[in-house]
Subunit: 325 residues, 2 copies
């Protein structure tokens, strides 16, 4: 008989990733599919079912080998009941996801917010391995966060813990944020902020690499700003340095409150690497008292887009190993 | 036979408070004494011993009725071993407090940082009763903090969690802080900050209540600023409003990360009451997204200088009820 394993699902607004995960957090097989958002909830359930069967066939497994299924969802959740309260990107409101999937598969199902699942994945088998207290930042269009305390995700009073994108980092003249405020971390230091910074700069320029890129492609992406910075363009370099400094400063403030062992930086923008991490770590070290940060390291996330399904599987793993299933 | 109880000790740089605490967190008897700091460690141990005997006599108890002793110490601690690593105000460095007291009393002893003990006391039987996730702020000469998560104190990677006094709240032109930086929360919003604000104001004034107070007494205290503000002095009112706003803003940022159920405000300055809490709560509500704070309340601490010994007793209570002693 095959060793027992978990299924982890990372349900995004764009794609679904499903994987078979062993008891050490290694992914044995994965499957992917675009998310049929428009087709609706029942259709997604049917697709989950097909994908799971395919995953089992592909890996030569049966449902008897599966201890349970974890699902990361971009949503506010009722964690106790496993209900998706609001998933704007999926158009789901008050759907009993856990109950429906347990009826379908007759194994235990646990649902969790997708950013939290990604943080747990990194803790289990990624850049946070071995740590118990972590802050995880996801730098993308916005800035998401997850707080892990004593080896488990911390939800707070109503599930809003780790909403670090809206920490105010600029008190005067800050950029407008989606939340209706100004100067929020994600308005000042996300990939979106980099694009807006670059557009402002490009418009005021008569020559230069950034200007050329803008005129050639008609737009600017965070990726292209990072690339130009790497090629030595000073304007783009400065934009990335500014963003890194803002992030480093903000992380220092978080460190006073939470004194984490590891701060993980993931998401698309973290791919910028050294050019972003150097000013970020410099600003962090300038801002934080040495004693408070002496046991804290800042590291890039490692699992990329497999963090979510790994962490979703961990949810089952945890309960299984604690005999709570 | 009497019901079993705990002894809680709050060891400060100025005074020692010792109390007999029942299993509901109520204080049955207390004793106090000045701390004989200059006489040294062994002398304090001897005094502890005398006080404990007196407490038992007074309450008609024997050591058999005592489940254990908790001690709050103003120090960095090695919690595992119960060693006081550094207690500047006591002049203690690397003393095995837990071991020495257990040899003395032959009951289990637990030591904890004093600010954390106070936070736990408020959670057990004060303004935080019933909550599991709390941030506790102590407003005094400096600003201390304690973070309670899942009903227990959270220490972080090296015991620095909750060092919120050094969160930066003023990025330009901030006042110098004891830590060597500028614009820290405790440099801008402690009782000390109020005194410095008031002194600056008084020096520039030709008349007014504040000026009169300064000339009459030769100094200004935070208490007198609060009193004058209550009497309607606009300058003093504005000083308190500013400090309240800074605190409210800072708490909003903490709320994004920790989403606590309750934020407790204690320490001498919290006695200012409404005149401080009104602008504090207003600034908090202006700064925080409603969803993030909808389950968070900001309340004054309730136990005053009995919080510490109550929380110290709770440390024993917790282990006893979990059968961990």
């Amino acid at each position: 008989m095959k060793p027992l394993a978990y299924i982890g699902i990372d349900l995004g607004g764009t794609s679904i990733k499903m994987g078979l995960v062993d008891q050490l957090g290694n992914i044995l097989y994965t499957l992917g599919s675009p998310t049929p958002v428009k087709a609706g909830y029942q259709h997604v359930l049917a697709l989950f079912s097909q994908m799971a069967e395919q995953l089992l066939r592909k890996s030569d497994n049966e449902w008897e080998n599966i201890i349970g299924v974890g699902v990361g969802v971009p949503a506010f959740l009722d964690l106790q009941k496993g209900i998706v309260v609001e998933a704007v990107n999926l158009g789901w409101y008050h759907v009993p996801l856990k109950e429906d999937l347990e009826r379908l598969w007759t194994v235990p199902v646990i649902v969790e917010n997708d950013a939290n699942a990604a943080a747990l994945g990194e803790m289990w088998n990624g850049a946070g391995k071995g740590a118990s207290h972590l802050i995880c930042l996801t730098l993308g269009t916005g800035i998401g966060g997850g707080v892990i305390i004593n080896g488990d995700i911390y939800h707070g009073a109503n599930g809003s813990a780790g909403e670090v994108g809206h920490i105010k980092v600029k008190h005067h003249g800050g950029r407008s944020c989606n939340c209706g405020r100004k100067g929020c971390l994600e308005a000042e230091a996300s990939a979106t902020a980099i694009v807006l910074d670059a557009l402002e700069q490009a418009k005021g320029m008569s020559t230069g690499l950034l200007k050329e890129e803008y005129e050639r492609s008609g737009t600017i992406t965070a990726k292209s700003v990072v690339q130009l910075a790497r090629q030595g363009d000073l304007v783009c370099k400065q934009i990335i340095i500014n963003v890194g400094s803002v992030l480093g400063n903000a992380l220092a403030q978080m460190c006073y409150l939470l004194n984490p062992e590891i701060i993980l930086i993931g998401g698309g923008l973290s791919q910028a690497g050294k050019i972003l991490f150097d000013p970020l770590i410099q600003a962090f070290n300038n801002e934080v008292l040495p004693r408070v940060a002496e046991n804290t390291s800042i590291v890039p996330a490692k699992l990329g887009n497999q963090a979510g399904l790994t962490g979703a599987a961990w949810l089952i793993h945890r309960k299984y190993t604690l005999h709570l299933l």
